[in-house]
């Protein structure tokens, strides 16, 4: 008897749903993407598990990412500064936004974000879903607001359809926008450089100079540029020339801790060949200039990183080592990730 009741109620349920069968079918099609986690990569950010990339979510996020209506005057999209060929960074010293306004810092690349626990140079954001609102409202970036954005894209039927397919109904909400963009960013994984192929023994090997550079890297660089992400995600003041903008304080402006003053997240070295200039506000035009600076000695401050303090405020590098290090760093370029062949 129980079974029969159950069966009947199932039928009723099915019938009552039949109107929305089409949408159910489409919604079911929106399966989660199985991301391939590269060998040796660290654990995923916890936020990933509550916003797993789906096929349609990523498609939607990608579309939003390149939509210029995110800026007040429809001129700047996320992709205006986060350019794929530059590992989703650009070649400006400081980011340039709406009305050619110049921002505070160098545009960070967007790659392997799913594995990071801190976002932005100062680690102010801990989840990608909470990051994308920042450029939308920042005066020097897009100078808009999320409701302004929603009002603009809401008139676009293609968007309403995509939101419906992705989330079940047409409602364009801030949370759905943030989630979609994050989902797209989660899929931007770079782990197919020459370095990776050498590591995986895929019939490639380092040149003599690259191999020497890898040695130097292991001796002098990878205590900070560690793990397969080439960053240990710590915040350090390594005595780079200071950004004198009064809004800059590095990590210190987030934590309120004195030792974090002008400390920045150790940047990844992946695809570094295409993300010049270097430093939190593009202090160095070339890798060579940056290495020369480390070799000549950095600015000594109270909170200078201990590794520098203990080594005379410098990383000594001879001419050959510099050449070899640069050769090695170029093996971290992932042509496929950058949209090449």
């Amino acid at each position: 008897m129980k079974k029969i009741i159950c069966f009947l109620s199932c039928i009723v349920f099915c019938l009552s749903c039949s109107d929305t069968d089409d949408y159910e079918a489409i919604f079911l099609e929106n399966e989660t993407i199985a991301l391939e986690i590269p060998v040796g990569f660290p654990a995923l950010n916890n936020a990933f598990y509550t916003n797993r990339p789906t096929k349609l979510g990523v498609e939607l996020g990608k579309k939003l990412f390149s939509d210029k209506r995110f800026s007040a005057n429809n001129t700047i999209a996320c992709s205006s500064c986060h350019i794929q060929a530059n590992a989703f960074a650009d070649n400006n010293a400081k980011a340039i936004g709406i009305f050619a306004r110049i921002g505070l810092r160098n545009t960070p690349p967007i790659q392997n974000m799913a594995f990071l626990n801190f976002y932005n140079w100062d680690g102010s954001k801990l989840q990608l879903e909470k990051q994308s609102i920042v450029p939308i409202i920042t005066h020097e970036e897009m100078n808009s607001s999320i409701i302004e954005v929603i009002d603009k894209i809401n008139v676009d039927k293609a968007y309403r359809d995509l939101f419906k397919k992705t989330f079940g109904d047409e409602n364009i909400t801030p949370e759905r926008i943030y989630k979609s963009i994050a989902q797209f960013e989660y899929t931007l994984i770079s782990a197919n450089s020459k370095y990776d192929r050498v590591k995986r023994k895929e019939n490639e090997s380092f040149s003599v100079s690259e191999a020497r550079g890898y040695q130097v890297f292991q001796e002098k660089c990878n205590s900070c540029h560690s793990t397969e992400l080439f960053t240990d995600q710590s915040f350090r003041n390594i005595g780079f020339p200071l950004n004198t903008d009064s809004n800059e304080g590095g990590r210190g402006r987030v934590t309120g801790i004195e030792k974090d003053y002008m400390s920045f997240r150790v940047p990844t070295l992946r695809n570094i060949e295409v993300t010049a200039p270097y430093g939190s506000f593009g202090q160095f035009a070339t890798l060579r200039q940056l290495l020369d600076y480390l070799d000549n000695g950095v600015i000594l401050t109270d909170n200078l990183d201990p590794i520098f303090k203990e080594n005379g405020n410098r990383i000594p590098l001879n001419e050959q080592e510099k050449i070899d290090l640069i050769s090695f760093m170029k093996t971290l370029t992932d042509t496929h990730f950058l949209g090449g062949d």
Binding site: L104, N120, G123, S124, K125, L126, K130, I133, V134, I137, T138, H139, S145, I146, I147, T173, P174, L242, T244, S246, N247, E248, G249, G250, G252, R253, V254, T255, G256, I257, E258, D260, Y261, M262, D302, N303
Partner: protein
């Protein structure tokens, strides 16, 4: 004829008075007005730029003359406490209905009227300087009015990079040569600062203020008015004496890089107390009018 008209009118007036009298004599609620008086000691501050001859000028304990050209702060989470200890919250979870940006340049913002406060005798007022963390998220959908007010070009009470509101924004000049002074405070905290399991990082710049009223505020047929003094002499000469310095080092504090290190917290504590031994900061009650 003239007199006759008067007689006709009389009952109408009487009727009107009578019909209203029930409500007037036994209201269940009334409004309470808050008046903010921003001062240097006991003198209301007059804003002005470096060249102004009318601007209020104050010399700090450390001997630095200073003046304000802009003075703004957020008051939210207002609670009135009855003489029996009952706390009456006023839209404490709604920034649109329960928060105000006090702006010295806008007279209207100095008078905040809270409506529909239950009748009774009140002995204390509590409020927050800033926005408590759970609401401090620049949520335009939830609180469109407050978001718009804070984001207005002449207000600029948003901290975009931290996706929170500015709690105080003080612009002005200091020293004999009128160097720029720009002091902003706001929270960057992620997780609950008091709870080690959820606390992640950042500074909590919200301060909860408690003030004993100098006389009972009686909400009845009259709406009481509470005048609150905010003595900005406390900024530099409060619990911690602060000497302003301009520059780009971690100890420079006269420009917004006071967001760094512990510099901001010193200002926050001077203005809003430290939350434990000092729950008044710069605030005090000037008058209660019933």
């Amino acid at each position: 004829m003239k007199n006759f008209k008067k007689y006709l009118l009389m009952p109408a007036i009487l009727l009107a008075v009578v019909s209203c009298s029930n409500d007037d004599e036994n209201p269940v609620a009334n409004s309470v007005a808050l008046k903010f008086n921003n001062t240097f000691d006991n003198t209301t501050i007059i804003l002005g730029d470096a060249a102004s001859t009318t601007a209020s000028v104050k010399t700090s304990g450390a001997g630095q003359v200073h003046r304000f050209s802009e003075l703004k702060y957020v008051i939210s989470n207002i609670r009135l406490v009855k003489t029996d200890g009952t706390e009456v919250p006023y839209n404490v979870n709604n920034l649109d209905k329960g928060a105000v940006i006090v702006d010295q340049s806008k007279e209207a913002s100095l008078n905040y009227v809270m409506s529909n406060i239950p009748v009774g005798e009140y002995a204390k007022i509590k409020f927050g300087l800033g926005v408590k963390q759970v609401l401090n998220a620049l949520d335009q959908v939830k609180f469109p009015s407050f978001y718009a007010a804070a984001g207005a070009n002449d207000t600029e009470m948003m901290w975009e990079w931290g996706t929170g509101y500015r709690f105080t924004k003080l612009e002005g000049f200091y020293g004999a040569d009128n160097k720029q002074m720009s002091i902003h405070t706001g929270s960057t905290v992620e997780g609950n600062k008091g709870d080690a399991t959820s606390y992640v990082q950042g500074v909590d710049a919200y301060r909860d203020i408690t003030l004993e009223l100098t006389a009972k505020a009686i909400v009845g047929k009259n709406p009481p008015k509470i005048t609150i003094k905010a003595d900005f002499n406390k900024l530099l000469s409060g619990t911690t004496a602060i000497t302003l310095s301009t520059g780009t080092s971690g100890s420079s504090n006269a420009t917004p890089n006071i967001h760094t290190a512990l510099q901001m917290v010193k200002f926050v504590d001077n203005l809003g107390g430290n939350g434990t031994t000092d729950v008044k900061g710069m605030f005090s009650i000037l008058a209660v009018e019933n």
